[in-house]
Symmetry: T
Subunit: 142 residues, 12 copies
């Protein structure tokens, strides 16, 4: 059974609580459950991890990155500043898609730049929970 | 019957011919047909337009932009430089998703900037034909 | 009878429809008619042209630019990016005034720069239809 | 009787003497008189003030800025550097139009930027005395 | 009896009138009185000066800067552009704290930079009248 | 009993040991005790937390950020680079004041920029222990 | 018989009329005829196309770009801004040499940058009609 | 009898008091007297003016600028920011030499740029009182 | 017995696995063992620590930084972004040499900048395991 | 008999040895001989000089620059950094064409800028030995 | 007998020939003679050296820099680019004044920056031969 | 017997004399002797060359660059500006290590950039004579 990993970065544990006009009112648990259901329907296992700590996300990428069919990664605020996460994505074997619930390009200037994006295979932004689902469907179709 | 428009910008008529290592070997007609099939299965009409001329794409956005349920727009090389297209996207009523077959952020520096992205509701890059299909599915789910 | 040309750039055909809080609710036809009336009262002919296509505006500048007493030019979104329009303005014999209905300097950063402005004889912004009328009056007084 | 204020910034007292190839040969008194005549013909009072001192212009904006129908402001060399004048324009109730006799954008690089322009309702440049007259006409037509 | 000087820069005479959503509705006189009361309770003399003119503030810094126990300085719009004020702060003997009622860093880009801040002993922003009071308390505690 | 939280970022556990010419010779425990005394005198509870790990500070902001009357935050070296901390400050309900013992603007270039400052209600720098005390007094006075 | 294509961009139809001190007094027809003569003497066919419209030049590159022995391209004002033309040059099979009659590097700052130059095999500037002839001779010698 | 004017900008009235390690311990009066003596020995009149106020320096340049043989100008902190002073120097008839006691290029970054320098006939820095004397000698030798 | 500490930053636990064309095929354990052998031969103790977490590296620097004869630090991806690590290096007593297996300057643009380098006593890059050995030899020779 | 000078800058003596995939396998002697033959056939004298030393190239420009019909100059690595060579080109009487065997614009970023180009009459890049020959033909045709 | 050295950089051997509108028509020999006369009148020896080669100027600075009372240095085009000359000026014992015949700040942008200026004791520009004479007089007066 | 070349750039002949607080008090001869001793002990020949002239260093790289086992290069002030030296390093066959006695990154801003570093195999800075010795040991171990 193939595994797909979902990594949620900093502050995503506040989903549904934090600025719902930007991020929607779905909680992180509800999001993970809907993705798990979609995955198991198609015969895939889904592993979901959240951390506020940059280095723990490096750890998670290393642990999931040699055994996963694909990794869906929402790096949150580390998107724009983390060379360590970028190096981790480049170091592992599994392909990574960067996702965002909101559309960072329509927000502050400093959210336009993504160090991670260059080493991912693709990126999906602004579609809410659909951002995750489209990535999941893409990996399941590979 | 709800209409969804697909707009293809400059050089996309060369799809399947031009740099297949970057853009894949699907032709533009084949891509349009696969999208039409998906749309009509779900009870939507799909309109597909291609032009190499910036102002004709402004025209197309204006013509489709008050009657479409959603617009899927691959602005190609105009992504990075066209204020006129940006103004057209902002002026119309239909929501627009920017799509790219390839992953511009992993390419040259001048492809990182997108004037259009800020006025779209989302963007999807790097998934090949799946970039279009994810956008289509998103609009059909709204 | 001396001729004065008015050139309207991209998206100005949507005048009255597009973002009326920024651009007002006068339609392009109404604006052209009011300018024509002012011109013919003073014994001038007024020619009004609109195009969404950069190169057609180059054509229009070349066609009007050797026989007009003056050209009133609202280059819209091409203001900030078009070297070709700038070269056309520099190449023709008629003096050109750049006009804008809104006040681009009070908007997004990328609207601050104008490649065209340097080769025009003057610029008028932010006065709505008055921007055009002041330019017209200036040319009629020369 | 409605009042319209005209504020002339630094070095405009040299009008007609200083670099006439750029600024024309009309003196400041002659300019003020022609504007006064235009205003009183239409039933408006015109107040004209000149100062070389940035803070005195701040004072003038504060003194005129709650009782004037409109303010025509040529900030001269302070255009490009004065946050204090910008704050004064933003703080007062009367609308302000920035005017220039010459066309700063066709001159040195450091004249391209205007801190004031963003808080004005419009700007008019390059039309000589007509720059002032168009602004006056605009306010009288409001 | 030790003296503490409070210097208010351009447009602060409009306090309570100008943009109350940003600057509050306390007038400058009321602010000065509350500071004087605090100071005299603790056995200090308080001198308060306001000017819209950059050079008069230079003068005030020079006049107060060799006899004051401390200077509380709100340089307003000159914060971001004045080398002359910076040189005056560096030239005098009394320590200076820069204060702002509002929080300039949360506003326009050009308000982020402070030439003065580097030569002050500290800065306090965003606390309204408390910005002044905290500075006063600091100097009284030295 | 209202709670006020004090968060100390990286390297502040070395207070009194590290570069005393910049940071003073008060230890972190001594600082916390003096703040606690001030708070309890006024009927407030004070919670003090220190961590060198960016993500743990995100955790602390989330844990304190819905139950505290105010948060006093010295983000240390994360001030200039952390989007994750900024997002956490923006996500929580409690108001945050950024404090620094030293005056970063008078130090290296890369310390001038603060990503956090924009989402705080104010900032206080350069006053040593007084920076914390002024923030505490401000919250206690609200 | 091998074909060589010559593409002239915007405003080159004004050759001989527009700023002759920069561009010389040869008309476009005369230039094309002299190139045709040179080509046919050496047993080559020469195709010459001019357009003011960016997208039509994209079309021309696509139409000539799979059957020509070489393409001589003077992109005029689009040199500095067009990603679409750059993509077209990269997409086609024929080698392209960028030519300019004048020497853009000795002119305005914004003419220094060429997005096209990187995807061409070479560039020739400043030699007037000789710029075209040297490119033609190069292709005929391959 | 020919007149040479010496203009001293902001904070130069503190000469001998302010940072003597940079500016020396000569007072402004002593400096002016030594220059007057040199001038009268050679049959020239010397006029010396000091002001901390930018606009008063504009006034002084205008008043001295049509009757002086030469102007020696130490613009102090206005060197780097004042377009108004630059415009005044360009507007007057007398040649101006910019002088500095210290060597601004060896100091902070923001002191490297001089808006004034471009419109002066020369500049002399770093020679202390000799900076003024060399300028004086130059004008007397013309 | 003198202690020398070796700190390995993020992703270095993948040594030998991750991109061996850049980083070589030696594992981290093998590297540490070869360094330990070198150190103990010369009568030094070697302590080796690896962490993917920025704040844990701050902790390690603080713990080793007052008792070590020298610290050899490969900060990996944190090299370019961490002010917190820089502050830790500056705060401790032991001298630090920055080492890299690869040669970051020959790689991507964003790897050129090192915030840490300025507070280290030296840096060694591009020599593979020799980078560490040269640093070790340097400390053992002091 | 008219003289044409060919100046080869640093490292061009390695032609045929150094990176032949970029610079071709023709040696410098072979290149000079082919140019000499072309020149003498047309009744011109050709002088060829190579130096690795910037100042010797300044000397050569001065020595050849008042007696040559034209100068063909490949400044190699000095293209991008030498103000001294630029000044020499501007100081001499003979016209200069800048040539490059390769196409610097298609290489590293720092090769895009040319200080020399602005003072030359034209430039030719990317055509290998043809770059020199086209320049030679241009001068022989003048 | 004290020695003063005059160093002339690249292209100054063309003085009187090269662009006399900028540099005047005095030859280098005439300039050196007039300086020698001035020096020997005052009992000083004057040594004058010219070279077009950066490294020879480094040599000259080293040779003169430990035995000269002062060095007058016109670095010409190396002013803006040479770190090696800067290091030489910093390394020697004699004080250096940078002189220019013309006024580089009034010329091209790239002439505004001077790497050398920071390590000199002063600079004099724009006074023609007087630039040298003022420096000479300064050293003779020390 | 394998040869290792040591190239010393500008001003290194002043070693021991120039700024000993930065560069130490070892003379260049002493440094070369210690390196020769180390090399001959290990059966290598060492060739040491110093020049202040950029082009002579290009020559030396070319002469040593096809017969040396390795080259140790301290480019001094040319590190930051020389494209010609970079091209020479790239053109030769021998591997090059860049060394510096001091730690340029801890000094002025313009010393941070190294054009050479990218084409070297490694770099060592800040270790004094050990910088050279570590490079030598590296080459001897290959």
């Amino acid at each position: 059974m193939k595994k797909i990993a979902v990594l949620h970065g900093p502050n995503l544990n506040l989903l549904g609580i934090r600025e719902p006009n930007i991020y929607g009112d779905l909680s992180l648990d509800e999001l993970n459950e809907s993705l798990s259901a979609m995955a198991s329907d198609a015969g895939f296992e889904l592993v979901a991890i959240q951390s506020n700590i940059e280095g723990e996300l490096v750890n998670a990428l290393q642990e999931q990155g040699f055994s996963s069919h694909g990794i869906i990664f929402n790096p949150g605020g580390y998107t724009h500043t983390s060379v360590a996460l970028r190096d981790a994505v480049a170091a592992i074997a599994s392909p990574v898609i960067e996702v965002h619930l909101s559309h960072p390009d329509a927000r502050e200037e400093f959210r336009r730049n993504s160090l991670l994006r260059e080493v991912c295979v693709g990126s999906i932004t602004g579609l809410g929970a659909e951002s995750y689902q489209a990535a999941l469907r893409y990996f399941m179709g590979q």
